[in-house]
């Protein structure tokens, strides 16, 4: 049952603030993402897309980190608000 619409981090627009629900990534990349602060429950703000749309810069636990689509499309999030812009 889906209460709030879930989507992947890659689907989010600039300015959106979302909460991470789950990571569909395994192995060292999962470890790496967790170390960087992409943990379930964490809030992520979408900062901006690079000119070609990939990678995208995110703000997570006071640091800016850019992720490729390869990773961001495997991170499931839920909308919690944000300013559009």
């Amino acid at each position: 049952m889906v209460l709030n619409k879930t989507k992947t981090l890659y689907d989010c627009q600039s300015g959106e603030v979302v909460q991470i629900k789950s990571l569909q990534v395994e192995g060292t990349m999962r470890r790496r993402l967790l170390d960087l602060g992409f943990v379930p429950g964490a809030c992520v703000k979408v900062l901006q897309r690079s000119p070609m749309g990939d990678p995208v810069a995110y703000r997570v636990s006071h640091t800016t980190i850019a992720l490729r689509q390869e990773e961001s499309s495997r991170i499931w999030v839920e909308e919690i608000g944000g300013d559009q812009g």
Binding site: R31, D35, S61, H62, T63
Partner: protein, 242 residues
């Protein structure tokens, strides 16, 4: 008079190198870690007539050896066993920085948490309850601002007391899921039989459960080097579940 060895660990951009330069001044030299293209900076300083050798470990977010940097930092803390490991943390991003701090605390008892960039935190209206943190985590916590040279004396005193064995710590250890804890209980005694008390058995057990083959390799080399012979290399491989 022997020199105490102190390692500086920490996330990137926490002012680790600023602290390193503040403490060692010009008494430092750089090179590479053996076999790695990772800068190794080492320096010395004297505090209360005692010499200390300070090693600036590469800045990392973690110590699971995902990269050469992390491997260097991890191996130094576990296998070279410095007298004190100082984890330099960014006061404005404690949550992120505690990840590394907790990892170091699983690897050694001789940890001091050094919360740097206190000036930045104060500017942002943040307060760090250092006493509470030290109490909860069971290790000394010192607040500094390396840039403004604040808190340096307190840090040096804490390092001195720990190096001389005058501080007993009881680092907070993460308790994992019952499943995992059960597995740790199963293999930790075997690990302890092989490595003795010289290396952190619980931490090694955890790494083995995670299928960390690079650690296994390093561990085998270390043990072989020490004993020359007599260590069954197969013995360790058996306990590595993925």
């Amino acid at each position: 008079m022997t020199s105490y060895r102190v390692a500086l660990a920490g996330n990137p951009n926490t002012g680790k190198s600023t602290l390193f330069n503040t403490l060692t001044g010009l008494k430092q030299h750089t090179g590479n870690w053996p076999g790695k293209t990772v800068i190794r900076a080492e320096g010395t300083y004297v505090h209360n007539n005692q010499e200390y050798t300070l090693v600036d470990l590469p800045g990392t977010y973690s110590l699971y050896a995902n990269s050469a940097d992390e491997e260097v930092a991890r191996d130094y803390i576990v296998f070279e066993k410095p007298d004190v490991t100082v984890v330099v943390m960014d006061a404005t991003a404690m949550e992120r920085n505690l990840n590394l701090a907790l990892q170091v605390m699983e690897m050694t008892d001789r940890v001091i948490l050094c919360i740097n960039l206190m000036d930045e935190a104060e500017k942002k209206g943040m307060t760090i309850h250092d006493r509470k943190l030290a109490d909860r985590l069971g290790v000394p916590v010192v607040k500094i601002s390396a840039r403004n040279k604040q808190g340096i004396d307190q840090l040096l005193d804490a390092i001195e007391r720990m190096a001389e064995g005058k501080i007993t710590t009881r680092p907070y250890r993460v308790t994992y899921s019952e499943d995992l804890e059960q597995k740790i209980r199963e293999i930790e005694p075997d690990v302890r039989k092989i490595v003795g008390d010289q290396y952190p058995a619980r931490w090694i057990a955890l790494r083995l459960l995670d299928g960390d083959y690079s650690l296994l390799k390093t561990l085998q080399d270390q043990l072989l080097n020490q004993r020359g012979k007599g260590v069954e290399t197969g013995e360790l491989s058996v306990s590595c579940h993925t």
